[in-house]
């Protein structure tokens, strides 16, 4: 299937203040792949993710999502295909109740009432949060907020799921259930994280970003076990490998 492809070709991006965040990024992600994006703080991971649905437009280079090339015109279509989960769930949950929030996307897609309810039910069920639906987001715990944030994106049934630090606010058990959840999601997914064990668990492929460019791209098991290379990029061995050595 061609419509789940993400392709970056020589993508560069410069912030208005002159900071060059991306310098010629190239990669191609095909249908059903799960890819981890790792790199030091400020390496450009978040900037990269923000390009995926056209919030930021590349200064040069092209991004292809499915069969659409990202332009100002195709942005809206692309946003239906790519669901992005943010690092801070408070930024993502902007409606007064959990139900309203999860229903926001489907309603914007112009769905009728019955199918919206069905979508919301399904999405909340997926993250085990059906009981929260009438609560206001400010009464949820961090873990619950993250779960609902994921549901709110899942309710749009995106072809491609992109996540920025999905596990950063979670306690170990919530993190584990997130990992299980991510494994059940069959579409392409792109996860930016410092949690290398999570990447190792969920993603077969790993892209290392350094100084705004791709410095390594290959199987996670291979890249994430190369101690010298990881340390060069301000990373370290995943804990599960450290124990072994």
């Amino acid at each position: 299937m061609s419509h789940h492809i993400v392709e970056f070709k020589e993508v560069s991006f410069r912030y208005p203040d002159g900071t060059e965040a991306l310098k010629g990024v190239n990669f191609r992600i095909t249908h059903g792949e799960s890819v981890g994006v790792v790199g030091a703080n400020g390496a450009g991971k978040s900037t990269l993710l923000q390009h995926m649905n056209g919030y930021l437009m590349p200064t040069s280079g092209t991004i292809t999502i499915g069969d659409l090339i990202l332009t100002k015109k195709t942005r809206r279509e692309i946003r239906k295909k790519v669901g992005i989960v943010f690092q801070n769930p408070d930024d993502q949950l902007f409606m007064p109740t959990v139900f309203d929030d999860v229903a926001f996307g489907p309603l914007n897609l112009g769905m009728d009432e019955a199918s919206v309810r069905e979508r919301v039910r399904k999405a909340l069920g997926m993250v085990n949060s059906l009981a929260l639906q009438d609560k206001p987001p400010h009464h949820l715990s961090c873990g619950q907020k993250s779960a609902v944030a994921i549901a709110s994106v899942m309710a749009m049934e995106p072809d491609i799921l992109a996540m920025d630090e999905p596990a950063s606010n979670l306690d170990p058990r919530s993190r584990r259930s997130l990992i299980t959840l991510l494994k059940t999601f069959k579409h392409s997914k792109i996860i930016a994280s410092h949690d290398l064990d999570l990447i190792l668990d969920v993603c077969q492929r790993c892209i290392v970003i350094g100084g705004g460019a791709v410095v390594a791209d290959g199987p996670s098991a291979e890249i994430l076990s190369d101690k010298a290379f990881l340390e060069e990029n301000s990373l370290e061995l995943p804990l599960s490998f450290q124990r072994r050595s």
């Binding site: 996307g105 914007n108 400010h138």
Partner: protein, 268 residues
């Protein structure tokens, strides 16, 4: 009162609206319309009116009792905002010195009467508004406003105000705590630092607003916040609304309290 206490206090008003009483179950639209009619009626009284206002306390008192809202909590809230009303009316007794009545040999100027009238109207309107919020979820009020035809932009502004009020307060609380922890009992270098804190809070808010807008765009936002119909006007709502209208009309246009007074006078 410290900042933390204030914060949890606001949360309390919000939590009151999650209760389940027959007042809470009424359709938000019915309550919004009833509250608006109530406010209009109270404000419509002439400025020297006191006696005729008294029966209007029946509505807030009924709501309080049936809705199981703690009285002292609401009274405290009214007192907190009362300076506004006091300052509006405080000069009336000085400027308007016509003698309006003589009670037990003490002459009472018209200014005092209008001042008292302002205070009564204030207490009535504010308590009605507070009780609306305490008995209706905020999102319920917003949906009601939207469905009653208020502009989308206006309604989404209040929705966001409500949603992010708590987030912003937490943010402020974190900043204030961080300052207190490193200022060792002193006031944390005073005004200069305080001004900077506000600046930082502002910048963070702008950043957050941008991220929220991004999140909204990511989920297909096109200018209006779509909502599902979730409630239907049923018989109890209509009964409530018509009873309310009857109550307001009777006490607005017939001097009921005066009548009771006359009857009492004749009896004794």
């Amino acid at each position: 009162m410290t900042f933390d206490e204030k914060y949890f206090d606001i949360g309390r008003l919000d939590r009151l609206s999650y209760r389940e009483t027959c007042v809470h179950r009424l359709d938000p639209r019915a309550k919004v319309v009833a509250t608006m009619l109530f406010l209009l009626t109270v404000i419509s009284f002439p400025k020297y009116e006191i006696v005729a206002l008294a029966p209007f306390f029946l509505y807030p008192v009924l709501l309080l009792t049936v809705g199981e809202i703690p009285v002292r909590f609401i009274i405290r809230k009214i007192i907190v905002v009362s300076p506004f009303a006091v300052f509006i009316g405080i000069f009336n007794p000085i400027l308007d010195t016509r003698t309006a009545a003589v009670i037990f040999g003490v002459s009472l100027s018209a200014g005092w009467i209008s001042f008292l009238s302002i205070l009564l109207k204030f207490a009535l309107t504010v308590s009605a508004a507070l009780l609306l919020i305490a008995t209706t979820s905020f999102s319920g009020v917003c949906h009601a406003l939207r469905r009653l035809g208020f502009p989308a932009l206006f309604v989404s502004q209040i929705l966001f105000l409500y949603r992010y009020l708590f987030v912003l307060m937490e943010e402020t609380m974190r900043i204030i705590r961080a300052r207190e922890m490193r200022s060792f009992g002193s006031r944390g270098a005073g005004m200069k630092v305080f001004v900077r804190l506000i600046g930082i809070l502002f910048l963070r808010t702008v950043d957050r607003a941008e991220r929220i807008y991004y999140a909204m765009l990511s989920r297909g936002f096109q200018g209006d916040i779509p909502t599902l119909k979730r409630s239907r006007i049923v018989l109890p709502d209509l009964v409530f609304l018509s009873a309310m209208i009857a109550y307001l009309l009777i006490f607005r246009f017939f001097p009921v309290t005066e009548g009771i007074g006359r009857v009492a006078q004749e009896l004794f």
